[in-house]
Amino acid sequence: MDSIMSADFLAAVIAGAIMASMPLLFAALGETISEQAGVLNLGLEGMMLAGGYAGFVLAYWSGSSWVGLLAAILAGIAVSLLMVVFSVRMGRDQIVVGIAILFAMQGLTSLLHQVQFGESYPRLGEAAMLSIPGLRDIPVLGILFNQPAVVYIGVALIIIVGWIFLKTNFGLNIRAAGWKPVALDNAGVDVIKIRTIAVLVTGALAGLGGGYMAVVTAGIFVPFMTHGQGFIAIVIAMLARGRSTWVLIGSLLFGTALSIADGLQLVGIEVSTDIVNMLPFVFVLLALVLFGRQSYLPAALCIPFERGKR
C-alpha cells in the first residue's frame, strides 16, 4: 500500500474528486433553480448529453475548450426550451416532458455521434488550465490551485446563485414561483416568466455540466456517457433544498467518495463505486421520510401554473 501512496497519488485522488464533482455541481445548481421555481426537470440528463455532444463537437472543430463550453451552454438552453414550451407555457406534465427530453437526447446525440465520429472517435487534448503561482507548488493540496479554469467558475457560480436566492428580489420571486405561485401572481409578478427564466438557466448549467464531462474530463463524447449523473444531480438538488452551498457540499462529497473509492481499490481495499453511486438516493429517501414531502420540496413543484386557477 505504502508504495503507491505518493504525493502524486494523493493529488490524483483530489483531482479525481474535483473531476467527478464538477458536472454534478453545475447540473445540480441548475436543477436547484428549476425546482425552487416549481419545475421538476427530469430532462436534466438529456440536457447534459446535449451539452456534452455540442461541447465536444465545437471544442474539436475550434480547438478551444472555451468555445466548446459555450456551445454546451447554448445546447443546454436550446433543449430546455422544450421544457419551457411544453411544461411551463402549455402546462403539460413535467415528468412526462422531462423523460421525453431524456430519451430524445439519448437518441439524437447517439445518432449524431455515430454519423460524425463513429469511424474516427477523435479525442481532445487537455482543457485550458488555471494555475495559481506559489499555491500550485504546495505538496498534495497544490492540485487545488492547478485546475481547469472552469472549475473556479463553478465555485463562483455557487456564490452568485446563493447571493441571488438570499439577497435579490429575483431570487425571492423564483422561490415564490415554487412555493406560492398564486401569491406571486397576486403580487403582480409573471410566474410563467419567472419559471421560464429558471428553466433556461437550468438548461444552461446542465449543458455546462455535460460539456465539462465531455470537454474537460473525458476529452471525448461517447453515447450515453452521462451514465445517470443527471438523476444524481436531481437528488443532490432535492437534498440541498435551494441552498447553493449545500449543492457544493453534496457534489463534492459525492465526487470525493467516488475518488476515494477508486484510490482504495488501487491500494487493495474493496469499496464498490456502485455503493457510492447509490448513496445520494438513499439520503434523499431518508430526508423525505424524516421531513415529509410537503415541508421538504417546494409546494408547487410539478404543478403547472395557470392564472386564475388555485
Binding site: 485522488v13 403539460r92 431524456l102 437518441g107 473525458a218 471525448i220 453511486n277
Partner: protein, 367 residues
C-alpha cells in the same frame, strides 16, 4: 371539462413520448447487406445448407470492439461459405423478440445473437422459429442443443497472458495497471491471464487493479478518472477493458504525466484494434478477438450436422491474438510468439479467473 383536459394532456404527452422514442429508435436502426456469392456449399449428412445468416448486435458495429468484431467476423464467415448476411446492429440490450421475428421472415438458416444479454431470448426463439442461433458467452455447456443452439466462448485469458508478458517487458516503473469497466466474466478472465503473464516475466511486478463500476461500459469520464489514478499510482502500462469507456482510458493515457521512472504511458486494449485512432503513439497492443475463422467453423458445423454439440471456443489457434504494433521491439515480440506456441501446445497453462474478486485475490496472493 375536467375529462376533456385530461384527454388533451394525455394525448400531447403521448405525442411527446412517441417523438422521443422514435428518435431513440432511429439511433439504433439496422441494415441489410448482401455479402454473399452465388455459390452455396452442399449440406452434409444431417446438416442444412446455409445460404443466409444474420447477426444481431446490441450496439452499432463501428465501436472498434465487441459489436464491430462480431459483425466483421460474421461477414467474413459468410463470405467464406458463400452466404448472404443480414446485419441488425444497434438492437439494444432489451427484448429482441420482435427483431428475431422480423429476421425470421428473411429466412436465414442461422442467427448470430451477439450479446450475452440475448441468451434467454435467443434459444427460446430458436425453438419457436426453428432457426439455429448462437449464444454468446453463456458459460454453460448445457446451453448447446444439436442443430439449434451453439454456445460461443472465448479463451480470452490466453491472449491476456501474452499481454502480461508484453507489459512486464515494457514497463519502466515495474508497476502495471488493469482498468476494468465492469464486473464482467471476460474482463475477469483477462485480468487473471494478464497477471499470470506479467508474473511469468517478473514475479515481483506490482499490479494495480481498479474498476469503474458494475456496468461502466460506456462511462468514458469515469474511465478517465480511474485510469489517471492508476497512472499516478505508478502504472506506466494500462491494460484497459471497456467499450465506450476505452476511449476515456486512452485519453487519460494520452494526457497523463508519466509516473516517476517512466518516459511514457502505454495502453493495451482488448477485443478490437484501435491502432488507427492512435495519434500519440500510446497504443501498445490489443488482445484482438477475430471471429472470422470461428464463425466460419460454426456455419460449416451447421452444414455438417455437428452444430450445437459442444461449445465453440475462440482460441489462440483460431482468431484470438495479440496485436503486433511498431511500438513492440522485435525481441519482445519473438518472446511473445514463443509463449503463444507454448500455450497452444499446453506447456504453459494459463489460470482461469471468473470474477473480479478472483482477480484481486490473485493480485494479493502475489504481493
Amino acid at each position: 371539462m375536467k375529462s376533456t383536459e385530461s384527454f388533451r394532456l394525455s394525448r400531447s404527452s403521448i405525442a411527446i413520448m412517441v417523438l422521443a422514442v422514435m428518435l431513440t429508435l432511429v439511433a439504433g436502426c439496422g441494415r441489410t447487406e448482401d455479402a454473399g456469392t452465388d455459390a452455396s456449399p452442399a449440406s452434409g449428412s444431417g446438416g442444412i445448407e446455409v445460404t443466409k445468416v444474420a447477426v444481431v448486435t446490441p450496439e452499432k458495429a463501428n465501436d472498434f470492439g465487441w459489436n464491430q468484431m462480431g459483425v466483421e467476423g460474421v461477414k467474413a464467415a459468410a463470405e467464406a461459405v458463400g452466404a448472404e448476411v443480414i446485419v441488425q446492429d444497434g438492437a439494444g440490450y432489451g427484448d429482441i423478440t420482435p427483431i428475431m421475428n422480423q429476421l425470421a421472415t428473411e429466412e436465414p438458416q442461422l442467427i448470430f445473437a451477439w450479446a450475452s444479454g440475448y441468451n434467454a431470448v435467443g434459444p427460446s426463439m430458436a425453438q419457436q422459429l426453428g432457426i439455429a442461433v448462437t449464444s454468446a458467452d453463456p458459460g454453460d455447456e448445457s446451453v448447446n442443443q444439436p442443430q439449434l443452439v451453439q454456445a460461443i466462448e472465448e479463451h480470452a485469458e490466453k491472449g491476456a497472458y501474452l499481454a502480461g508478458i508484453l507489459a512486464a517487458r515494457m514497463t519502466q516503473t515495474g508497476t502495471v495497471g488493469i482498468v476494468a469497466s465492469a464486473d464482467d466474466l471476460n474482463w475477469a478472465k483477462m485480468g487473471g491471464g494478464y497477471i499470470a503473464g506479467a508474473r511469468s516475466i517478473n514475479p515481483d511486478i506490482k499490479i494495480l487493479y481498479v474498476q469503474i463500476g458494475q456496468a461502466g461500459y460506456a462511462d468514458a469520464a469515469g474511465a478517465k478518472r480511474v485510469t489517471t489514478s492508476a497512472i499516478s499510482g505508478g502504472a506506466d502500462i494500462i491494460f484497459g477493458f471497456g467499450d465506450g469507456s476505452s476511449f476515456g482510458m486512452m485519453q487519460a493515457v494520452e494526457t497523463a504525466k508519466a509516473p516517476a521512472g517512466a518516459d511514457k504511458v502505454y495502453f493495451i486494449d482488448v477485443i478490437g484494434d484501435k491502432s488507427s485512432l492512435d495519434e500519440k503513439n500510446i497504443y501498445l497492443s490489443s488482445v484482438v478477438w477475430d471471429f472470422s475463422q470461428l464463425n466460419t467453423e460454426i456455419i460449416e458445423s451447421l452444414e455438417a450436422g455437428t452444430f450445437g454439440q459442444e461449445s465453440a471456443y475462440l482460441d489462440l489457434d483460431n482468431g484470438l491474438k495479440l496485436l503486433q504494433t511498431d511500438l513492440i521491439p522485435d525481441d519482445i515480440w519473438a518472446e511473445i510468439e514463443t509463449a503463444k506456441q507454448s500455450i497452444i501446445d499446453g506447456s504453459i497453462e494459463v489460470p482461469l479467473t471468473v470474477s473480479a474478486k478472483e482477480v484481486k485475490d490473485l493480485i494479493a496472493a502475489g504481493e
